[in-house]
Amino acid sequence: MTVRRLIGRSLLSWAALSPLLLLVLFPFAVMLSTALKPIDEVLAWPPRWLPQRLAWRNFADMWTAADFGTAALNSLGISIAATLLALAVAVPAAYAVARLDLPGRDLYRQFLLVTQMLSPVLLVLGLFRMAASVPFGGGTLVDTRTGVVLIYAAFNIAFAVWMLASYFATIPRDLEEAAWIDGCTRAGAVLRIFLPLAAPAIAVTAIVTFVAAWNEFTVALTLLRDPAKLTLTLRVVNLVAGRYSVQWNQVMAATLLATLPVAVIFTLLQRYLVQGLTLGAVK
C-alpha cells in the first residue's frame, strides 16, 4: 500500500468516526468543565465551556457532602469480595467443564445461559424477599454488604465460567500430562502448571466482574439503606435524585472521580478484554 493511500484512508476513517467520537467525549468534557467551575459560573448565563476561575474546592466539598471516602471503600470492598467469591466458584467449575469428564455438561452450560439472561432487575422483588428471609447478624441480609456481595457473585458466575472455560480449552493438555508422568499428582499439576498458564484469563475475568460490581446500581439501590453502607454509584445518584436544588459542580466532580479509575484500568486492559470477550461471547 502506498503512503498516499494510507493517509487518505486514515483521514476518511477518522472523519467517519468523528460524530460518534464527539458524542463519546462530550460527557467527559461536560464533567471536566462543570467539575472545575464555582457555582456562580455553573449558573451563569450564557454557560461557557471554560471556567474563569478554577474551583478545585468542589472536590473537597463533594468529598464531605457525599461521604465519598466511605462510599468508595464500600464499593471497593463489595466489588473485591464479589470478584473473589465469583472466581472461587467459577475457576473449579470452568476447569471441570473444559477438562474433565462431566456428565450433563450441556445441561450445566444451558443452565448458565439461562442465568446469564436473567438480569437482577427482573428478579428484584424476589431478591429483596430472599434477603429479608435470611437471618444474618441479628437482622436479615437486607441492608448488608454481604447480601449485595452474594447477589453480585451469583449473577457473574455464568459469564465467568463461560469465559474461563473457553480460555482453559486453549491451554494444551500435554503440559499437565507431562507433569503427571514426572510424578506430580493431578492437583499438583493443576496448581503448578495449569493455573499459572491460566492466570491471564483469570485476571481478565476478575476485572470484568470487578467493573460490573463497581458500576452496579439496581441491587444496591434495593438492598442498601444505611448511609454508611452505600456504594459510590448510589451516593452519587443520591446527590441528584429527589433534590430540589442540585450542586452540579460537586456532582460532576464526584462522577469524574468515581469514573476515572475504572476508565483508566479499562483502557489499559482493553485489548485483552476484547480478545477474551470475543472468545467467550462468540465461540
Binding site: V24, W49, V251, F266, L277
Partner: protein, 292 residues
C-alpha cells in the same frame, strides 16, 4: 475401572457444585417467590394473605400505565437495538481497516463501556439541563437552536434523549462482537474475489454481509435482552416521568414494587417480563445452533 471412572465423574461434579449452589440459591428462590406472589394477595409489607388466581395479572393488564409501558418498551428496545447495531456495524467496518491512529480510535470507541450506566445518565441529565446544560449551549452556538429547550420536562423530548444515551452505551459491546465476527473472515477470500474481478462493493455485499450475518443476529438478540432489562438510564434521568410518560416495563416494575408498594402486581409484571426474556433466549439458542 468403572469405579475409578465413576469417582472421576463425581470429582468433576464436586468442582461444579459450588457454582451451581450459589447460582441456584440466588436465582431459584427469588424466582419461586415471584411465582408465589404473582398469584397471591400480598399486603404492602409483603404479608401473603391468600390465593387470588390471576387477579394480579388482570389488575396489571387493566392499568393504562402498564399498557403504555409495554408499548414503550417495544419502541425503546427496537430503537436502541436498531440504532446500536447500525452504528456498531459501521464502526466495526471502519475499525477493521488499517489506518493511522486505529489503536486510539478503538480505545475511544470503547470508552463508554467503562462508565456505569447511572453515572452516564447523571452526566447526560446535566448536559441536557434546560437552562444551564451544554447541549442547549452547543446547539445555540451552532445556530441550530434559538431559545432553550427544556428537554427533560416533556416525555416527547426526554424519551428520545434516553434512547440516544442507550445507544451510546451499547455501541462498545456490540462493536466488539462484530469486530470478532469480521476478524473471523479470512483475508484470502477477498483476494480471491478481487482476482476474479469483484469490485469492493460486490465483495462487501456478497462476502462480508452474509458472513457477518450470524454475528449480527447474536448481537441483536443479546442486545434485545440487555436493553429490555436496562433500568438505570431511565430511572436516573426521569424515573418514568414526567406524568408516567417515559416508563418502560422495568421502571414500571420497580415503581409498582417499591414506590407504590404493590408486591402482587409487581410480581405479575416480573413474570410477564421473564416470559418475554425466555422467548428471546430460545431464539438465541436456536441462532447459536444454526451457526454451529
Amino acid at each position: 475401572m468403572r469405579g475409578r471412572a465413576g469417582r472421576r465423574k463425581a470429582a468433576a461434579w464436586l468442582l461444579v457444585l459450588p457454582s451451581l449452589l450459589l447460582a441456584l440459591a440466588v436465582l431459584l428462590y427469588p424466582f419461586w417467590e415471584i411465582l408465589r406472589l404473582s398469584v397471591s394477595d400480598v399486603s404492602r409489607f409483603g404479608q401473603v394473605r391468600g390465593f387470588v388466581g390471576l387477579a394480579n395479572f388482570a389488575r396489571v393488564f387493566a392499568d393504562p400505565v402498564f399498557r403504555a409501558a409495554l408499548l414503550r418498551t417495544l419502541v425503546w428496545t427496537g430503537a436502541v437495538v436498531g440504532g446500536t447495531v447500525l452504528v456498531s456495524a459501521g464502526v466495526a467496518l471502519v475499525l477493521r481497516q488499517d489506518f493511522v491512529g486505529r489503536g486510539l480510535a478503538r480505545v475511544l470507541v470503547m470508552l463508554p463501556w467503562s462508565i456505569s450506566l447511572s453515572m452516564a445518565a447523571i452526566v447526560w441529565l446535566w448536559a441536557f439541563d434546560g437552562d444551564h446544560g451544554m447541549v442547549n449551549t452547543t446547539l445555540r452556538t451552532l445556530g441550530l437552536l434559538h431559545g432553550n429547550v427544556q428537554w427533560m420536562a416533556r416525555p416527547a423530548t426526554a424519551f428520545p434523549v434516553e434512547i440516544g444515551a442507550g445507544i451510546l452505551v451499547s455501541v462498545p459491546f456490540t462493536t466488539t462482537i462484530l469486530l470478532g465476527g469480521l476478524s473471523s473472515i479470512p483475508g484470502e477470500i477477498y483476494e480471491a474475489a478481487s482476482i476474479d474481478g469483484a469490485t469492493r462493493l460486490q465483495s462487501f455485499r456478497h462476502l462480508t454481509l452474509p458472513l457477518l450475518r450470524g454475528f449480527v443476529n447474536i448481537a441483536i438478540v443479546l442486545n434485545v435482552i440487555y436493553v429490555f432489562n436496562s433500568f438505570p438510564i431511565i430511572w436516573v434521568m426521569t424515573q418514568g416521568g414526567p406524568d408516567n410518560g417515559t416508563h418502560i416495563l422495568v421502571t414500571y416494575l420497580y415503581e409498582v414494587a417499591f414506590r407504590l408498594g404493590r408486591p402482587g402486581p409487581a410480581a405479575a409484571v416480573s413474570l410477564v417480563m421473564l416470559a418475554i426474556v425466555f422467548a428471546a433466549t430460545l431464539l438465541y439458542v436456536r441462532l447459536q445452533r444454526e451457526r454451529a
